[in-house]
């Protein structure tokens, strides 16, 4: 017994003892346990399935006359659905990208074959007010699109920002045409 003890001491002290190994295993086990407990608690804060079920919705757009828009509620937010006149479409398509604060072509912001329809989230990209412009009687700003009364941001008829303080275009939500008169957003 003492002979082997001497052999051990004659050499170097072991770098990692059995105790170190056990401590590592115990700590790792505890860490995995903490993670397994934390994840369900955190995930329970994520949208529940009833909220997710409302994350896409269908809207009937047949009754919107040309030149006007309506506001629908999608995911708790206002979404403008605007029926553009052919003149408005031509103006929107004709704008040079270099003139834009947040360059984007009109074609990239509408669906092919349905270019008279503009669907954008109606929240000003400055500080979150809802811009005016759906009704023909509304102030629409110098570019004929939308005008935000809070700080004077102006958007054109493609929902692109043309005058600040807003920095970005009105976002286009994911949407698709189920038929010529029905869209599904989300």
């Amino acid at each position: 017994m003492s002979a082997t003890a001497q052999e051990h001491n004659a050499g170097h002290a072991p770098e990692h003892t059995k105790r170190d190994f056990l401590k590592l295993v115990a700590a790792s086990g505890a860490a995995i346990g903490v993670g397994a407990i934390a994840w369900p608690l955190i995930d329970s804060l994520n949208p529940s399935s009833d909220v997710l079920a409302l994350s896409s919705a269908e809207y009937d757009i047949a009754s919107i006359p040309a030149g006007q828009g309506i506001t629908v509620v999608w995911r708790g937010k206002p979404v403008f659905v605007r029926h553009r006149t052919p003149e408005e479409v031509k103006t929107a398509e004709g704008v040079k990208l270099a003139d834009l604060m947040d360059p984007a072509s009109d074609e990239s912001r509408v669906k092919a074959g349905h270019s008279q329809w503009l669907v954008v989230v109606g929240i000003c990209t400055h500080l979150g007010c809802i811009p005016l412009g759906n009704k023909t009687t509304d102030a629409r700003g110098d570019f004929g699109g939308y005008f935000c009364p809070c700080h004077g941001s102006q958007y054109d008829v493609s929902g692109r920002v043309r005058h600040g303080p807003a920095p970005l275009n009105l976002p286009v939500p994911p949407y698709a045409f189920l038929s010529d008169t029905r869209i599904k957003i989300g």
């Binding site: 369900p40 608690l41 995930d43 329970s44 804060l45 529940s48 399935s49 009833d50």
Partner: protein, 409 residues
């Protein structure tokens, strides 16, 4: 100015904090080196398990409260939404509901440990009484929590128990109206129960803190019931009892997991899956299992006020137990007659539990009355007398000497 604490810690950040607020020194003293009797058995784990359970209840409760609606029109639905739509909502709900049962299992074993080993005796009388306060708070919290899902048993259990207070002479009915906030258990009642159910667990945390402070002043009891005499009799809490408690926690979590994942409805009453209907009384109004013995005592007495007084009296006798038990010997290990009486009490509690679960007919009425009579006889008559007449076994000299081999003569 008393003078800054001189911290022993080497790490500069910890030292800076500890000098100004000696949390680290305190933790090292109270849970690091704290001299703990070296002969604890696993029954000494249950206090720590109760603390873990309390934390689990508070955490799951807070997350449940994010989705629960305390309005009678939507309460039941909101719980169903938690079960079906909220991510891991089913887990939160079943951990919380079964956690309540686990909490009472753990605390009842903790209490019976105290009864067996005389942990309520001098100088731990106040520690014991603080513990009884915690039990009362737990019972109030559990009762109100059970009302929240607004099922049939929630509603009718609330009705029965709040109606008890009408037994108080003169002011009884006014008190019940005050409790209800109306003329029956309804929306105002549910809303205030939700508020108080959220509040009381934090009151429990405060009282648990006092419980632990009192414990650290007197030191823990141990299975032999004799005080540690010197360093030989104790061990530092860390690592010996941190590890032993960790083992206990693993077993506890395994039992908890079996309940939650394989039998989540085991302790539940099927009637509570039906939304509350004030016009239909369920066939049997039964509280959750942990209240059954008290329910049995309540119904054992034919008089309404008498039953209420006896039910609260059952807890009141626990309060004054340190003065009822006259024996100078702490641990039942050395008290052969007390040991017998202890087990009779345990059996009595189980019998009362069974009585509480049944309709008060036939044999159950007799058993309920015998059980109630024995319960009070045990505390009010037998224990005071036993101290005078029992001949205890000889106590060992010390904790260490009790485990040392007897020297050959």
């Amino acid at each position: 100015m008393v003078g800054l604490h001189k911290s022993e810690f080497k790490n500069p950040v910890i030292n800076w904090i500890d000098t100004r607020l000696p949390l680290f020194t305190m933790m090292a003293k109270e849970y690091g080196v704290f001299p703990t009797p070296k002969n604890f058995n696993y029954f000494w784990n249950f206090g720590a398990l109760a603390m873990v359970n309390l934390v689990i209840m508070i955490v799951t409760g807070i997350f449940l409260a994010m989705n629960y609606d305390p309005n009678t029109g939507n309460a039941f639905e909101s719980v169903e939404r938690i079960m079906r739509d909220v991510n891991y909502g089913w887990l939160l709900r079943y951990v919380h509901a079964n956690g309540a049962s686990m909490f009472f299992i753990v605390v009842y074993i903790h209490i019976f440990r105290g009864l067996y080993y005389g942990s309520y005796k001098k100088p731990r009388e106040l520690l014991w009484m603080i513990g009884v306060v915690i039990l009362l708070l737990m019972m109030a919290t559990g009762f109100m929590g059970y009302v929240l899902p607004w099922g049939q048993m929630s509603y009718w259990g609330a009705t029965v128990i709040t109606n008890l207070f009408s037994a108080i002479p003169v002011v009884g009915d006014s008190i019940v109206t005050l409790l209800w906030g109306g003329f029956s258990v309804d929306n105002p009642t549910l809303n205030r129960f939700f508020s108080l159910h959220y509040l009381l667990p934090f009151v429990i945390v405060g009282v648990v803190f006092l419980h632990i402070v009192a414990l650290h002043i007197t030191g823990s009891n141990n299975p032999l019931g004799i005080e540690p005499k010197d360093k030989q009799d104790t061990l530092p809490f860390h690592p010996y009892y941190t590890i032993k408690d960790s083992v206990g926690i693993c077993v506890y979590l395994m039992v908890f997991a079996v309940l939650v994942f394989f039998a989540p409805g085991f302790f539940g009453d099927p009637a509570n899956w039906t939304p509350a209907n004030p016009l239909v009384t369920p066939a049997a109004i039964v509280p959750e299992w942990y209240f059954l013995p008290f329910y049995a005592i309540l119904r054992a007495v034919p008089d309404k006020l008498g039953g209420v007084l006896m039910m609260f009296g059952a807890i009141a006798v626990l309060f004054v137990l340190p003065w009822l038990d006259t024996s100078p010997v702490r641990s039942a290990k050395f008290r052969p007659i007390y040991r017998l009486l202890f087990w009779l009490l345990v059996i009595c509690c189980f019998v009362l539990g069974a009585v509480g679960a049944h309709h008060p007919n036939g044999i159950w009425v007799i058993l309920g009355r015998i059980g109630t009579a024995y319960y009070f006889l045990h505390f009010l008559v037998l224990l005071p007398l036993l101290g005078k007449f029992e001949k205890p076994l000889p106590l060992p000299e010390s904790i260490s000497k009790a485990v040392m081999p007897v020297a050959a003569e």
